[in-house]
Amino acid sequence: MTRPVRTLLVWCPDWPVIAAEIVDGVPATASVAVLHANRVVACSPAAWAHGVRRGLRKREAQERSPELLLIDHDPGRDARAFEPVVAAVEEVAAGVQVLRPGVCALAARGPARYFGGEEQAAEQIVEHIAQVCAVESQVGIADGVFAAGLAARVGRIIPPGETPRFLAEFPIEALGRPDLADLLRRLGLRTLGDFAALPAADVLARFGVEAALAHQLAAGHDHRPLVPRRPPPKLDVADTYDEPLDRVDVAAFAARSLAERLHERLAAHGLACTRIGIEAVTAHGQELHRVWRHDGLLTAAAIADRVRWQLEGWLCGRRRTRPGVDSAPTSGIVRLRLVPDGIVAQVGLQPGLWGSAGAERERAHRAFHRVQGLLGPESVVTAVLGGGRSPVDQVRLVPWGDERSPARPGCPLWRSSTGGGDAPSDTPGSQEGADQPAWSGTAPPWPGRLPPPAPALVLPTPLPAAVYDTTGAPVAVTARLELSGTPAQVELPGQDPMEIVGWAGPWPLDERWWAPDEARRRARFQVGLADGTALLLSLATGRWWVEAIYD
């Protein structure tokens, strides 16, 4: 049987407390306890001195240490705070495996030979962590990860082959399997040595696979290999130019070679990117950055094109010299950098079943991205329909290339009526007739939305208006939806009053009344004017607005 791997394990005591100090600034020297599900997960040395232990209830812990600071357990915070520590260890030694936040392990052989001994290696690592991250740590070296973990608790280096004897002294609870430890303790096995003395075959037969694995650990036969973490590959490419690039064709040439390098690097890792960040530094030290989005995968030529378009936009923008726009560079570009983002595994592109469809799509996308390069990514948008009661709510404009997800769930289109023009009911929101909304069981129905036809012009911000009755008095609506008079004239700002020939309403709408900031209460009208126009008016808090125009 081969001996387990000689393992060096770095352990930062009370890591959840330390992480809280690093991230949130909680003083770790005070009496601090980290709680999860009302139980203490970790505590500071001061709290330990007061008798706070792992597994205590919150109330008991506070009883023992009245000034105890309580923090919620946050695994994400622990992991984030541990990342610099791992990076510091990686600066000294290679092939680090993070076991959990606060504990990492590596094969001891390499550092030991490099630093001239295991003790020196351990010292170097502890010293480096303390210097770089100001974090206290302990190192243990033994055969196997399990034994090294126990050695790190006491800060010892177990000589090769001594591990089983070192383990034998530990209580059976050190296995970290409470159920098994309880059972074994009742059978009279109190230490790992007692347990390890049992024949392995009998342990397997009597206690099962789980216990057999624990038995191997207790006997010092820890054969789990280390799985070192691979540092994320560096994917961005950059180039520095002695002569500032101030002509589009020169910059495009530079961009093409850079894009090809980026693509080679991505392909070497079997990756592709869905977004690309283009950074440029000008001779005057200006930094320009823009992220391009793409719903498909970018090819080498596509990356080169995007870089070229963006550089064209920048360099042309400089000549345009619009005041107030500081995004235009004031001098040539001396450094270009491409940062791939949204990395996915390269799975290849699927062209359209009929070749021409793919080509059309490609050409259209090219044109849209060209415009995005001129005006910015948000300038080209596409409309996504969702649920909602007014024409503005139903549409969400997303920048071209972004994910097409609606703002509100639901389908705004009504199933086209087949029962003739007289079948639909007269009030919007009524669920009778042939114009029933085409919503499935999961999508909300949005009662109260307007039936088709929808207005062809939707005003993003409503236009103020005034509506008068036949006597010339402004029209109002009571709380019981009674009109003060028949609408006869509508007046838009800057226009002559227009005669109303037909109108319908009021259709009340009381949206989001449970959220005071977003609550909107209004009554809507459809109004037909003498010149053939039709408007969608709404009356909210005594004022009339034009929401949309049936143009």
Binding site: E360, A364, L374, A383, P412, L413, G419, G421, A456, I549
Partner: protein, 240 residues
Amino acid sequence: MAGRRVVGATALSAVPEGLVRPASEPTGHILPVLPELSELLPSRGLRRGSTISVAPDPARRGSSSLVLALLAEASRAGAWCAVVGVPTFGAVAAAELGIALDRLALVPRPGPEWATVVAALIDGVDVVVAAVPPALTASVAARLAARARQRGAVLIPYGAWEGADVTLRVVRSTWEGLGQGRGRLRRRGLTISACGRGAAARPRQVRIWLPGDEATRVVAGPTPRRVARRPSLRLVGDAA
């Protein structure tokens, strides 16, 4: 790019393969339109490379709907469309008319780069609707029309435009369905006139309904059963 003049075959050879479509492509050089509108257009559809302007309509009597109706059938057939300079675009109305919104790009605010944006879109999109800014010079307009002709795109300027192949104008618009305090807007009748150059020189006029007839057509009831039904089984012999 509007500022760059494309001169002869040298400029054409500089454009990469596949970007340029000859205007005289044998197949698919006419994009379909709604059958009601086909009467107005000399080629009974949107001929690739042509410019079909929709006259401005300060009274808002249906020109936006006319633009949407022009796009509808082409978009349904798979064409890519772009709308420039219309921040009030009614996407729901477009979808109701059958425009595929995932093949429709909007550039609501092109700003001073209007001509460049339209030119860039003509390069890649089948139908480009562009709201004409007030200060548009005739030379820029002519250059854009030439670019559309060369690239095989359909340019639909929405506003005053000199020299379009066909100019559509809404003459009259009426709404149906609204009463005094009852009903709702159901459909509109649009009277559209067309005039233009060449084959379109003779003015034409049609009256269409939006939403179209298929939405309001009275569907015939279940097919009447034939009166003389063949009798089913008959007792032929005496059972006893």
